[in-house]
Structure formats: structure tokens, C-alpha cells
């Protein structure tokens, strides 16, 4: 992976960072609990196992994208192509399985590979052509969505083989498959970010690129891996939604990149890199999920939901900043 010539200073900082990552942002967790309690009081339908699984199912695609956003933003980067790549990968998988008649595992793998390929292209352009990440991934947002529409001719590709459908609609032990895949992905992603060298290097990159470079981290290579990983996760999200509705939809994931970034930021990821935890991001995603689900149960128009989520985002960062300023005054 890397040379073992890390400066002690950075090493200490990397360790400190990982300790900070373990620390769940208590306030966001409190908000989640209180929000859930409020919803439970307001709606008799909120507190039930089936509704809890509903929330997790509705959060699964956004949650996977938010994991990708946490890694990339934590490293000081940005990936605006998440939603489009999610749409592209679902269409690619459905096309391979339905139009080319490939077996299910190939179709599922195609989703993740298509996503990884788009992410790889992003990474190459950012690190080798020196185009800013914002521009490259904004371009990819258009490229991937356009390609999804071209492949599918603007229509949904329906009728996946049974195994693929099971990935989206199966319920082993009554738990929807997308929820299982999402939770397992989140746990793995959390452990990697919090406990592995790869995770520490990712945050070190966002903290100070020059320090990371001085410490012997191969910055460009690491970034390329991160963007490829981000694309692969978007591919996984695309796979989950495709399997859920038994078809590749070229409009899937529209504007999801912003929702994923919102979840990561609410969860405590620093927009300029250097700080972020998957656990926090999951709490952020669940705050949005609970808010949406609860307001849906209360039959509140979706317009208000968007307002509520926007307000929560600004509030979360405000609280964050307030704390930072208070600590620095001490």
C-alpha cells in the first residue's frame, strides 16, 4: 500500500483522527431519537417493525451513495456523478441480462463494474489531466445520464432473471435483501474508514494533502482508488434499485448526489475533507429517512419535506460550527 516512512507527527495525527471518528456525534444521534419519538407520537403507524424496515429500505440506495460521498468528501474531493452513475449502472445491468441474455451473476456484476468504470474515468481525469473534481464529476453527471438514456432508448428495460429480482425483492427472515446488503456494506465501510490504514490515509488526504505526500502516501494513486470505489458503490446502489423494481430505469437516481452529500454532511463529514465517519453518515441518512417517512405517514406534501431536509442540513452544520467555535474559545 504505502511506504512505512510516515512522519511521527502525521502518524499521531492519523491515530487521533481515527479516535475522533469513533466518536459518534452525540447531537445528531439525539436529533434522530427525538425526531423518531415525535413521529411516533404523531402517527400511529410509525412504530412498527414493518415501518422500520420501510425506512431502511427507502434509505438503502441513498445510504450506499452517502457512504461513497463520505469517503470522497473526507479525502477532500467531491463526486457529483453519483446519481447519474447509479442510473447508468442499473440500465447497464438490465441491458446485459435482458437484451443480451446473460446469467444473473453477470448482470449483477455488470452494475458494479459499470459504476467502477465511470469512477475510474473520473479518477484518471482528476489526477492525470488536472481538471478539478467538481468539473470532472459534473461532466460525468451529464455523460453517464446521457449514456443511460442512449442504452435504454429512454425507456425502462423490464423483466430481469429471477436471481436478480431476488436481490431486490427477496426477504430472507423477513428482512428485505437491499436492507441486508446496505447494512453489511455500511459495517464494512465503517470498519475500513475507522480502523484500516486505507481509511486513515483517506482522511489524512483531506486533512492536508502536502502533509500526506510528505508522509509517503501515494496521493494520486489513492485518489484514483477512491473515485473508482465511489463509482463502484454508486453501481451497487443502482443494482439495488434495479433489482427492486425488476427493471433498469434510465432516470433512476436523479439528483441523488445532492441527497447523498446532504446525508454525509448532516452526519458530520467536513465538506473540505479531513473528517467524516460512516456511522455519522448513517445517522444523517436515517434522520432524512425518518423525516421523509414520518411526513409521508402524516400525508404532508413532499414540498414541505424538501424544506424540512434543507433546514436540518443548515442546522446540523450550524451546530457543528458553534461547537467548534466554543471549543476554540476555551
Amino acid at each position: 500500500m504505502t511506504h512505512e516512512t510516515a512522519q511521527p507527527g502525521l502518524w499521531a495525527r492519523a491515530q487521533r483522527t481515527s479516535v475522533e471518528q469513533l466518536h459518534i456525534r452525540l447531537e445528531s444521534f439525539i436529533v434522530l431519537i427525538v425526531l423518531s419519538a415525535v413521529m411516533a407520537v404523531l402517527s400511529p403507524f410509525f412504530l412498527s417493525l414493518s415501518n422500520f424496515l420501510n425506512i431502511l429500505l427507502a434509505t438503502s440506495t441513498i445510504g450506499v451513495l452517502a457512504i461513497a460521498a463520505t469517503y470522497v468528501i473526507g479525502s477532500g474531493g467531491l463526486d457529483l456523478s453519483l446519481g447519474s452513475v447509479m442510473g447508468l449502472s442499473g440500465v447497464a445491468g438490465a441491458y446485459v441480462a435482458v437484451n443480451l441474455g446473460a446469467p444473473s451473476p453477470v448482470g449483477l456484476a455488470t452494475c458494479i463494474l459499470a459504476g467502477a468504470a465511470a469512477g475510474y474515468v473520473n479518477g484518471q481525469l482528476i489526477t492525470r489531466a488536472f481538471v478539478p473534481a467538481f468539473i470532472v464529476t459534473l461532466g460525468m453527471l451529464g455523460l453517464a445520464r446521457g449514456l443511460a438514456l442512449v442504452i435504454s432508448d429512454g425507456r425502462v428495460i423490464y423483466g430481469l432473471p429471477a436471481v436478480m429480482v431476488y436481490v431486490g425483492q427477496g426477504r430472507p427472515l423477513g428482512i428485505p435483501m437491499p436492507v441486508i446488503i446496505f447494512v453489511v456494506t455500511a459495517i464494512v465501510a465503517h470498519c475500513v474508514l475507522a480502523y484500516s490504514k486505507f481509511g486513515r490515509h483517506t482522511m489524512a488526504l483531506g486533512d492536508s494533502e502536502s502533509a500526506a505526500r510528505a508522509a509517503g502516501i501515494r496521493v494520486e494513486r489513492h485518489r484514483r482508488i477512491l473515485y473508482t470505489l465511489s463509482g463502484a458503490l454508486a453501481g451497487l446502489a443502482g443494482m439495488l434499485f434495479m433489482a427492486r423494481i425488476n427493471s433498469g430505469d434510465p432516470t433512476a437516481g436523479l439528483n441523488y448526489e445532492l441527497t447523498a452529500i446532504t446525508a454525509a454532511i448532516i452526519g458530520g463529514t467536513n465538506l473540505f475533507g479531513g473528517r467524516g465517519s460512516i456511522l455519522g453518515t448513517m445517522i444523517g441518512a436515517l434522520i432524512m429517512g425518518v423525516l421523509q417517512n414520518g411526513l409521508n405517514l402524516l400525508a404532508v406534501q413532499s414540498y414541505y419535506q424538501q424544506m424540512a431536509i434543507g433546514a436540518v442540513l443548515i442546522l446540523a452544520v450550524f451546530i457543528d460550527q458553534y461547537q467548534v467555535r466554543r471549543e476554540s474559545r476555551v
Binding site: 427525538v34 415525535v38 415501518n51 420501510n54 427492486r244 421523509q292 417517512n293 400525508a299
Partner: protein, 327 residues
Amino acid sequence: MQPFVAKINRFTLALGVAMAFAAPAIAEDGEYGVLMKTLANPFWGAMSQGVEDGAKEAGVKYFLQAAESDQAAEPQLNLCNTMLERKPVAMITAAINSTNLLPCLKAAQDAGIKVVDLDGNLDQAVLDKEGIKITFRIGSDNVAAGAQGADYLVEKLGKDAKGPVLVIEGLSGNVTGQRRAQGFAARLKEQAPGLEVVASLPGDWDRGKAASITNDILTRNPDLVGIFAANDGMALGAVEAVYAAGKGDQVTIIGVDGNSDAVKSIKDGRLNASVAQLPYLVGKQAVENVKKAIAGESVTADIAVPTLVLTKDVLDAGKEPMLQYVK
């Protein structure tokens, strides 16, 4: 940390108080769930008004929700699943596309909830494969709407009329536009063989593109006598091109939808006719028929809500009873 937590609690308290103002939803027996694509469009607005009035008259309780845009396929599916938690007796759904709501409709069916296809967005072949039985489908018959446009043209020009006609289709691959264009062309051939469709081109629902197509065809066929556009926006684009070419009196132009811009243009004597859809009536009749189905009466599997040809005469006379349903 301590004062900070206190602050948080104050905030959440405020949030809680704010939310408490939202009237708590209590489970109602026999509620209908109505799920729309979006309300950010007068067509769906008129339809939800119809649902409201229909429910009031029928004395049924319902709750209506919509996704944030007509592209939000997954959010609509999540919304649909959430609506099932309220255990409605029926789900009246206008799906964003033919597949995005399938898991939810299946779950509804398994729970014994009646499923209705509002506006005909579901594909029967797909439903059969998925094993989903819908109670009925209700919407405007787009083939019939196209045919009505042809009838109007033949009525205006006569059965023996001769001359070239242009058809401006919708977006390539869009079923609604295809049906309207096909309905028009088939009926025209049958009624007035002398009126020949010389071109049938996709205008992508775009006013500017429709105007360009009209210009091109006028260059090729200066004696053009009729234009049928698959929606009003494109028809109005064609109107501008025809009048700019000084052929306003020579070409009869027909659109579909009956939207407010078209009504204005017809009243001004520019657009000749628009085949109006009546989304208000679609919503109203959907609720009425669900009530029937739940009461165990038989309901037609495919309910076509009539469309109405709007012309200057019809609008000026204002006698047509269906006019009240034009948005």
C-alpha cells in the same frame, strides 16, 4: 457539552411543538390512498380536484400524496410503501413509469388492497408477468382523442377534400404520443382518403421543434391543408410557423390537451381546435368506481373517460355540459 445538550433539547422541543401543529393522522377505516406523479402540473392538479370532489360526493375518506416531480421514480415507490402502512382499502395510483411501483402494488395486492391504474401508465403484459391484478384502469383514450381530431378535420374540410396533411408526433418512444398520432392517421385514412399524411415527425413535445418541422414541410408542401400535433404546445408552435408563412387561412391546425394556452389561442381565432382531456373527470370517476368495486358491484376493467373537441364555436356557445370539466 452540558449547556450544548440543553440547547439541542430546546431545539428539538421547538421542532416537536412545530410538528404537533401538524394534525396527528389517525387511522381511518376504509380510507382510499391516492398516489399521483406530481402536483406541479395543472393536469394533475385538475385530477386531484376531481378526486376531492368525487370523494366528497361519495362520502369516502381518502388521503392524496404525490412525488416531488414526474421523474422521481424511486421516491414515488418509497412513498407508495409508506402509504400502505396506513392500510387503505384501495390504492389509486398514477405510476411514473410502467415498472417503478411494481413491488408496492404487489404488496398491496397481498394485503387485499384494491389497486387502480390512474391514467393508464401500467403495462398489462408486465402486470400479467408479475401476477398483479388491477381492479380497473381509468384514463383518457389517446387513440380515440387522435381519431376525434381526424373527425374534426374531415368535418371542416369535407369527406372528398384533397391535400397534404402533417402529423407532429410526441417524444420518440412515448406511448401517449404514439397512440394519438396513430389514432389520427388511421381515422383520417378511413374517413377522407384524399387527405394524405405526407409526413409524421417527432416534435419531442417541444414548441420550437414543432415550428421548425412545420416550416420545413411548408417548404416542401406549400399547399398543406392540415396539421395534427400530439399536444397543444406543439400545435401552438405550428400555429406560429403557419401564420408567419401567411398561410393561416389555408391550414387547419389541431392539438390535444385543451390547456389554457390552447383555449386562449382558439378564442383568438388562431388555433382551430384542441381535443381536450378531462383530468378532473378522470379523478372523479376513479373514486366513484372504486366505491362501486368495494361494494361488490362489477366495474368495467378499462374505463375510458371521454375527450372533448374544443373549437371557437364550442367555446363561444358555452353550452357543452362537459366544458365545466375543462381546466
